[in-house]
Symmetry: C2
């Protein structure tokens, strides 16, 4: 029977799977088909390529996961659309794209565990308490907070109470998994408050919602940093999360015998330890300042700060400031210094991807994350799944096309930047910002005004040069020239997540786990082999009980669901088959 | 042309109005037709009865409000449905019910002012600040908060920072109207936190959303009081409201010459005054404890508290406690005392309406405010408008039917209560709780468990008796019997909103304005004449610049929109025709 649409394809797939018919299954895919599975088949995050590998995975896992019939709401004749299904564990959804009668891409994502659903909607708490419990909500909540991590051990410890840790904490709370969040800042939200003064989010509000509590409809498009900090603080209390602030994780070790972490903490100089079966690193990638060891730095007579210590442009009026770096922070800091009357020189050591914020919104986000999308009924949840439905191989090809369009559309803007010597790139293979972000999480600036300052010379530019050494009154650049400076800001980025593992756990564990983030694209900073998913993120690692969570607000929202489900299924002690488990 | 459906009716109406054809207009209504208008025709909240009065209002106002063509999305043949329209001021919506070709009821409600829309959705702020402004969001917000009420006069002062004041404040903020909220409690939310320990909201979460920021989907059905207090505190900060806490309004006076209020305030013993053109009383009806002057009260050897001072049941174990009253607070306090091991007697001085919370949810609210309603796509906004579309006359008739059903459904429950002597009523005319609430806002208990305690004797009951006097070891009841008590709680209610006017402004102004709340139903506590709307609530009063706002969370949400629009249209200095303006 010829397959002419998605309904036909899902029927054929379900029939072939039901009959364990390897060749019938294989006929539904091609050598370039991509199956992205999030927990539904693999209890892992994997993208499997080609008919053979896909059929191998499905038939290997099927005896344990019992993937049921796949339904689709797609109209007759449609070649792509949403699917839903159940398996032995719960309910899932996904998205399929066909080319004729065969599958180009399929996403399958487990959404809930049957019998262990989130306490939301009709399963939310009643709120009135139990008749035999004299305590009211406040007393119960206070007792719960006082006991967790003391009388009652958490099942999960999350290091880092930024958007990642809080989003995951909220998901775990809704699933009834005891979770303690550790953060070194005095108040929830201080990660954001403590950054440079002019910072606002570069992504728009529609992209940034946290789980369960979307931003209100009067929230600004680009959230200012302090307002973001406040939101996280409110969020933690509204979600009744247990966050220990002013608490630093000094080290952690895993006991393989009783499968428990011992996490050593310090608060107000006092040391103590907590044990838990699972440890989540949600420390973000702005944790360790990356401070190059510039020769002569100690001789500099002015102030020399990493971007994370730079207080903002006030007080710099009339001063000569050199900013080393050319990514987001460097640009924002330069613009703020100029606005405050400083004489600023940006030192661009390597090429940078620039995208105008408006272009980013109109070209890259508008279809799924915009007021127009909301008004057309596109929910955040469906937008997230559509993004997830595109495997990284497909994304690379698609983004190359998009970025050809952007370069043509903003050609005058880019020419003006190049005219003043700014070194542009659009990723090694022209695949643009989204791929740069997923490869190295660096190398770009979303232009909110600094590019115009570079074009019109309000920010002076030295490009294609490095810093040879720092001297008492400025810098010597790699071309031998001298740049006078009263102050230097090093916008030189931050260390990576795997560095935290080496520091907090051990170099051995760090080596065993390997790199976090990146997908093996083969470009500088993200060497192969091709992984098909971000390495070690939100999925089982080679270290039992150790997990990584992070990324921007959209990733924190989306992947927290799946990391929480993986922790919940372990908390519920369900027998757990894992495909492609790292060892 | 015979009118057979709503489409036909709206066409005929628009044609007749366009032609200023009095008799054609009158033919579309009957002597019992009801037109409820919220700002769209009247710039007032009015319900007009009968064809003649309706046509009078419409033709009197039309030269100024220019009500445009009325459209409906109703299907052909439908006898009721939604309408939309524009007028000289903005856009509106409404709902019409027909009986054959004539109108039974019509709601018209102005939703927005053209050119003065709320800064939400696509009109929200960008958030990145202006290029020429070195201040970031935090500095701008801090300056704005520091200046309002000092360098910059507010346009509106709201007395009371509970759900009413905050909801209105958020609406005004979105409309760009400078507004200062005054609250006597140390922290926003303390109105709720300071109430008796076991209190939770009696209305479910779906009924309780605040404007712009709905409760998250994991919020409990019945919000505990402290959690509600925290929510209001977060809400005020998220909405960037200017609330002066620990600040008491001591008096206010209006200068008719320059149309300004002088509002005298006290904070930490310091007195100061602020001026503003508009003053909103959002003090709620739990402001002044209503403390009867019981003879001999000073001789009582135990503790004698009003319900608002009662600390909760802890420490009352083994004590004999008399609770005077039989409404919500009395029942909740009795149940909490029993749970804490006290020997409790409720003194029921007059009959009470009881409804089981489950019955209330399933019968009275489920269709519009429930998880099922949400899952069926009924928005809070459309639910609110459907409720508003039913004029009070229609409500009375409808509620009588509903309550006949409830009495039959819960007949065993009610019989058990009567068996132990509990005196029940269902409002004088059998119209039930919603009408009692709108008439006197008292006389009922939403049963969350205390009724069973009365039925099984855990709460002792003395009904049909008053308190003759208090003696040193208890009370003498009106039948001459003695009731021994170690403690007495007076759950005797609170003073009314108009009392605030007499105290804070003057008895003369209070007398001119007359009663607040109630609609002239003619029952005890709500004497006629019939008003058709709640008296003085959310609408112009006989005192220029004085407004009343309040009610439960649903009313605070819904009516804050229309009170804010009335204040905005004055702030924008638009020429303003008002129908039925009180003088």
């Amino acid at each position: 029977m010829t397959i002419t649409d998605l309904k036909g394809w899902t029927s054929a797939f379900s029939a072939a799977l039901g009959a364990t018919d390897r060749s019938a299954l294989a006929a539904l895919f091609t050598p370039t088909s991509l199956w992205r599975d999030i927990l539904a088949v693999s209890w892992n995050l994997v993208t499997v390529e080609g008919a053979d590998a896909i059929v191998d995975m499905v038939l290997e896992m099927q005896p344990q996961v019992h993937l049921g019939e796949i339904s689709t709401s797609a109209a007759p004749g449609a070649l792509e659309g949403w699917i839903t299904f159940e398996n032995a564990f719960g309910r899932g959804t996904g998205y399929v794209r066909l080319d004729g009668g065969v599958c180009l891409t399929i996403l399958t994502a487990l959404q809930s565990l049957t019998g262990h659903e989130e306490a939301i909607g009709r399963l939310r708490a009643i709120g009135t308490g139990r008749a035999d419990d004299k305590r009211n909500w406040l007393e119960r909540r206070q007792q719960e907070a006082a006991e967790l991590g003391r009388e009652i051990p958490p099942y999960v410890i999350i290091i880092g109470g930024g958007q990642g840790g809080l989003a995951l904490g909220a998901r775990l709370k809704a699933l009834g998994v005891p979770c303690l969040i550790i953060d070194r800042h005095p108040k929830v939200g201080d990660q954001w408050r403590s950054r440079y003064k002019s910072l606002t989010l570069h992504d728009p509000v529609w992209y940034d919602h946290m789980p369960y509590l979307p931003f209100p409809e009067n929230w600004p498009v680009y959230t200012p940093k302090d307002k973001m900090g406040d939101w996280l603080e409110h969020y933690a209390r509204i979600m009744e999360l247990d966050v220990w602030t002013s608490t630093e994780c000094t080290s952690a070790s895993y006991d393989a015998t009783d499968r428990q972490w011992t996490v050593n903490l310090m608060r107000d100089g006092e040391k103590f330890a907590i044990r838990a079966p699972h440890l989540v690193m949600a420390v973000g990638n702005a944790g360790f300042p990356n401070i190059p060891a510039f020769e002569g730095a100690e001789t500099f007579r002015g102030t020399l700060n990493h971007s994370s210590q730079h207080p903002g442009g006030e007080g710099y009026e009339g001063k000569r400031v050199a900013v080393i770096g050319s990514n987001n922070s460097a640009h924002d800091i330069c613009a703020d210094l100029v606005a405050n009357g400083a004489h600023v020189t940006m030192i661009q050591r390597s090429s940078t991807l620039i995208v105008r914020q408006k272009t980013m919104q109109n070209v890259l986000l508008a279809a799924l994350y915009s007021q127009e999308a909301v008004d057309q009924g596109i929910t955040t949840e469906s937008a997230d799944l559509l993004v997830a439905s595109m495997p990284l191989r497909t994304q690379e090809a698609y983004q190359k096309q998009i970025w050809q369009g952007i370069r043509a559309m903003d050609a005058d803007f880019y020419a003006s930047l190049e005219n003043v010597g700014f070194q542009l790139d659009f990723a090694e293979d022209g695949s643009g910002m989204a791929m740069k972000y997923q490869r190295t999480a660096s190398g770009y600036y979303i232009d909110v005004g600094a590019s115009d300052m570079i074009i019109n010379g309000r920010i002076a530019l030295r490009s294609g040069v490095g810093v040879k050494q720092i001297v008492e009154d400025g810098l010597i650049l790699s071309d031998g020239s001298h740049l006078a400076a009263d102050a230097i800001v090093m916008a030189t980025g931050f260390g990576s997540m795997d560095e935290w593992v080496a520091r907090l756990i051990s170099p051995e564990v760090a080596a065993r786990i390997g790199k976090c983030w990146g997908y093996g694209s083969g470009v500088v900073g993200d060497p192969g082999p091709w992984e098909g998913e971000l390495r070690n993120m939100w999925k089982p690692t080679a270290q039992p009980g150790l997990w990584f969570h992070g990324g921007n607000l959209a990733q924190s929202r989306f992947y927290s669901r799946y990391l929480a489900l993986q922790l919940k299924v372990r908390h519920a002690k369900l027998p757990l088959p894992i495909y492609g488990e790292p060892r």
